[in-house]
């Protein structure tokens, strides 16, 4: 089960109009090669689920600038003025979700759960349209799972079975996103043979990964 394929082949599976989760936090460690090829291939009308919209010229910021994104579901867009501009101009729909709720909703989508109760957002506009439940005297919002057609994820060390190790802070949303999409493509900084990653060090088990591409085009 060698899951390594060419990047051209991988990007052909990503269709205009799909919902796509993209790993990375701010400007660090998004799958840049996949994003570049998506832009080159003119993939448009995406619904992007990500922590943020990065900065102009990096990661998701490139997709925003090239107007590939129809809707963005994220927790923070403050570092990319172009996202705010497109939003205010009515060119881009933005749905802002608290970061912890976003992570948990994606986990929920991958874990087969129907929803969860969180205290986050109680007393704020995040409440709007949501069911509130009281448990042991405390109020919670009922939040629902998020899933996507595709997830593209940057991995530091990846074996050919799809087991992924992330260096430093690059885990962030990758773990939950890999669980919550129908098609998961990992862009690897380094590809190794099965057994080279110790079983205890695997952060995303290969079961969650469909295809692996190298970071070079």
């Amino acid at each position: 089960m060698n899951k390594v394929i060419g990047i051209n082949e991988a990007v052909k599976m990503i269709k205009s109009g799909c919902t796509i989760m993209i790993s990375g936090f701010m400007a660090v460690k998004s799958p840049e090669a996949l994003i570049d090829l998506m832009i080159k291939n003119n993939i448009k009308n995406l619904t992007v689920i990500a922590n943020d919209s990065a900065v102009p010229g990096k990661g998701i910021g490139k997709l925003i600038t090239h107007r590939c994104v129809k809707k963005l579901i994220a927790s923070h867009i403050g570092l990319n003025p172009e996202t705010g501009r497109q939003m205010n101009a009515g060119e881009l729909e933005v749905e802002l979700i608290p970061q912890g709720t976003l992570a948990e909703r994606i986990r929920c989508g991958g874990a087969g759960l129907g929803g969860f109760l969180t205290p986050t957002g109680i007393g704020t506009s995040v409440e709007e349209g949501k069911q509130k439940l009281t448990v042991n005297g405390a109020e919670y919002l009922l939040e629902f799972p998020l899933r996507a057609d595709v997830a593209i994820i940057k991995g530091s060390v990846v074996d050919t079975l799809g087991n992924v190790f992330y260096k430093g802070t690059t885990q962030n949303f990758s773990l939950v996103m890999a669980m919550a999409a129908d098609l998961v493509i990992v862009e690897a900084e380094e590809i190794v043979q099965p057994g080279e990653l110790k079983a205890e060090y695997v952060m995303t088990p290969g079961i969650f990964v469909d295809y692996i591409v190298g970071a070079e085009m």
């Binding site: 400007a27 660090v28 802002l96 970061q99 912890g100 969180t118 704020t124 995040v126 802070t169 885990q171």
Partner: protein
């Protein structure tokens, strides 16, 4: 004055730290508190993008491209640090494992409500991790300048959209230290260079002033 005011605030907030605390510092002014952790005190910094045991900012040339903080800055990590994913990070935060969070704010009001993430029609950066930190941290300190363009930020009732309801415990500005209590806002300390009159003049909210106020 802006810089010195912020430094003064950060220094005063650092006095609230205790040995063994795990602390999450917001972006901007709150992050400056890290510079004033008392010598010999063990304080662990959490960054919500997945670090426990965050160290100082990296000087140019020291950056590890895989290690940033939640403010997109390259940082060092301390010995005994750990990395984890966002779901685990917010399990920590919401689950009450963070002793203290220090956050900035646009407005704080008499009920301890805080508005910090949006000015409708002008500034919409998103709430990031702030709402989760406010929901879950054991103690919340707001560290901010007392006014914005001369307008009071400590108000009777927040007019901006709330980031959390009734979650603020303490407000530290360059003029005053103010505690949020069930009775209302209590003026605890007057900061150097300020006075009760100065504070009252620049505060819209009612302040309770008790005997023995520290000046």
């Amino acid at each position: 004055m802006g810089f010195n005011a912020k430094e003064m605030i950060a220094r005063r907030v650092a006095e609230e730290l205790q040995d063994g605390y795990v602390v999450n510092l917001g972006i901007g002014l709150p992050s400056m508190v890290a510079n004033y952790i008392p010598e010999g005190m063990s304080v662990t910094l959490q960054s919500e993008n997945g670090i426990l045991g965050m160290g100082a900012l990296c000087a140019e040339g020291e950056e590890d491209e895989n290690i940033i903080n939640a403010g997109n800055q390259f940082v060092h990590i301390q010995k005994g640090a750990s990395f984890f994913d966002s779901a685990t990070s917010f399990a920590m935060i919401r689950g009450g494992h963070i002793h203290l969070t220090v956050l900035g704010a646009l407005q704080v009001d008499e009920q301890g409500n805080i508005a910090s993430h949006i000015i409708p029609g002008s500034m919409v950066p998103g709430m990031g991790g702030a709402m989760d930190l406010l929901a879950g941290a054991n103690r919340v300190i707001v560290a901010m300048l007392h006014t914005a363009k001369g307008e009071p930020k400590i108000v009777k009732k927040c007019t901006l959209p709330l980031t959390a309801r009734g979650k603020v415990d303490l407000i530290v500005t360059e003029k005053a230290v103010i505690a949020v209590t069930p009775e209302g806002l209590v003026l605890k300390e007057i900061m150097p260079g300020s006075s009760v009159e100065d504070i009252l003049q620049h505060t819209e909210a009612d302040l309770i002033i008790r005997d023995g106020l520290a000046e």
